[in-house]
């Protein structure tokens, strides 16, 4: 197992390098804005643009720029400075992490708490009215775009602007350290909006997995031993059915930690997703690089964790 982890980690580093390089290439090859010109302003003298270009290191060939970027990253963990407002990209990302973590973890809890029970109940009574209603609803939830759901939920429930003024309005997010109550209230609508599609997806997956599992021979054996049906379903059935679900959830968390962009935009939550969106709009390469790198890192890391977790959950899986 140890050797396996080491090997995976090395591959992960290589992958992050490649991702980083590709971002660099895309930004330099495809027609994107000239950061020096953007920074200088439209009325600027050529002399100013020229000097700013030198200051930003843009006069060097792009592989040199990439090398400099890598050196800064590896030696000082320096992710560069935003072309847009000169702030340190690393500190910007770190200051936004708590918000993204809040959205992700909360959303995860909500979607598991909804999705799993719905899936289980549907699996126990397949093709019943309850099952059909639940699966139909989940199809709708999966299909509705986050942006649409978000705006609808704000319209219905947001304080100040909604029909029923129950929950925090867009932009009301404060860090948990500042005010737990307001923090919580501001995240309820985003959590449910984000969770809607995921819960639906997980409900369908759980249902499918559990139905399949319940047809396995060992379930028949469990019944033949005289176990109560509830024990057969939960201890024997779910244990096997949920293993792939848990690992999938790990991957989804990894993905979302890179920033749930649409949710953060609609609800105005200052997370990494929002930062990435602004960076793209402003052609801010260092910020784009930073968010891509972070996103890739979380996905790769989550992938690794999930694979290791799987080995613990399923005794048949071993890693050489």
């Amino acid at each position: 197992m140890g050797a396996y982890i080491v090997r995976r980690t090395l591959w992960a580093i290589l992958l992050l390098l490649v991702v980083s390089f590709l971002t660099f290439v895309i930004f330099n090859v495809f027609p994107s804005a000239d950061p020096a010109a953007l920074r200088a302003g439209r009325n600027a003298t050529p002399a100013l643009v020229h000097q700013i270009r030198i200051n930003l290191g843009l006069n060097k060939p792009f592989y040199t720029q990439f090398w400099i970027y890598l050196k800064g990253l590896v030696e000082h963990f320096n992710l560069g400075y935003s072309y847009y407002n000169s702030e340190s990209v690393k500190s910007e990302i770190f200051s936004r992490m708590p918000a993204t973590i809040s959205v992700t973890v909360g959303g995860f809890i909500v979607w598991m708490l909804i999705g799993l029970p719905v899936g289980i109940v549907s699996a126990i009574r397949p093709r019943s009215i309850l099952d059909r209603v639940m699966m139909g609803t989940s199809l709708v939830a999966i299909s509705a775009p986050v942006y649409f759901l978000g705006l609808v939920s704000l319209f219905l429930f947001a304080k100040g602007t909604g029909q029923l003024q129950w929950f925090g309005a867009a932009g009301s997010y404060v860090p948990i350290t500042q005010n737990v109550g307001v923090w919580f209230n501001s995240l309820i609508l985003p959590w449910f909006t984000l969770a809607a599609a995921f819960a639906a997806f997980y409900a369908r997956m759980t249902r499918g997995n559990l139905i399949e599992t319940m047809h396995e021979d060992y379930i028949r054996t469990a019944r033949a031993k005289g176990l109560r049906e509830s024990v057969v379903i939960t201890k024997h059935g779910l244990r096997a059915a949920l293993t792939p679900i848990v690992t999938m959830a790990g991957m989804d968390i990894g993905l979302l930690l890179g920033g749930a962009i649409l949710t953060e935009i609609v609800f105005n939550i200052p997370g990494i997703g929002r930062y990435a969106y602004d960076a793209i709009v402003n052609s801010d390469l260092p910020a784009i690089q930073g968010t891509v790198l972070f996103g890739a890192f979380f996905i790769v890391f989550a992938n690794l964790v999930v694979d290791i977790l799987y080995a613990f959950l399923d005794p048949r899986v071993t890693y050489g």
Binding site: Y218, A224, K225, G226, L227, R239, A240, D314, P315, R316
Partner: protein
Amino acid sequence: MPLLEIEDLHVSFKTMDGVVRAVEGVSLSLDARKTLGVVGESGSGKSVTAQTILGLTRFPNATISGRIMFDGHDLVTMSTDHLRSIRGARIAMIFQDPLSSLHPFFKVGHQIVEAIRVHEDVPRDVARRRTIEALRSVGIPSPEERFDSFPHEMSGGMRQRAMIAMALALRPDILIADEPTTALDVTVQAQVLELIQALRDDFGTAVILITHDLGVVAQMADDVVVMYAGRVLEQASRETLFTEPEHPYTWGLLQSIPRLDAPRTGRLSPIAGSPPSLINVPRGCTFHPRCPYAPPPAFETEPALAPSEPGHLVRCHLPVEERKRLWQSLQNEHPALR
């Protein structure tokens, strides 16, 4: 007084393609301490019959009628709660593939402990000790270590032994073994059968042994039932079935067994054709499309299961004398059948 008596059991399943009549009018009885062999091809209804005893076929799309009398109660109409108290404790079952029949995520020892503790309120360590003893008694070496093994870490033979240990841990009155050796190597098969025999003798368990392999039945069964298309075609003691079988299907089964002492140039003689669909059962005798001797009535009416001698039931239109004569001539053709 039989220990278990199945009377006119009918089991059918509603499916998208039609109604599958898996078991049609099967009646069996099992005496205490006896072994009943149930023989038939795939789809003959033998597994469904066995599973129905324990109520394992109670699906929403199933229709079950008839009676299964055990200990004065009818298992067909018994509540699932009551049935659960019987499962594993009074009647236990082992299945064909021990790898898929044991839960892959739980240690083998744990699964046996579970089987014990669902019926007896014993502390964990007591159950553990009993489990280790059970593993030892089925011939598994180093049972204390094997307790912590996962199913996939054991060989096929060892797994089946563990299943047997689990089934017999609570000393049930009846053990139903559904094709216990089919998934095993030939050498291991013999060992497992011997084990079942030994335990049967030690604990006095009645056994229902389900198989498609007449050779297995020849070793262990006291009485044999031959099933086909959900029906019993012949029922007799082992002795009678192997020396004086009276159904063309049984003859065909006996003929198709490969034998070590048969000449090498001799070809295998399987029964021509394949088992019928259980949705569209053929009219008349269900076996007639494959029967070389089918008389005209076989095409129209289903024969009844009737005794040709006391204790020997046959479902065939051919007259008894005709059957005996045919069997005689078959034996002359194939000396191996003697």
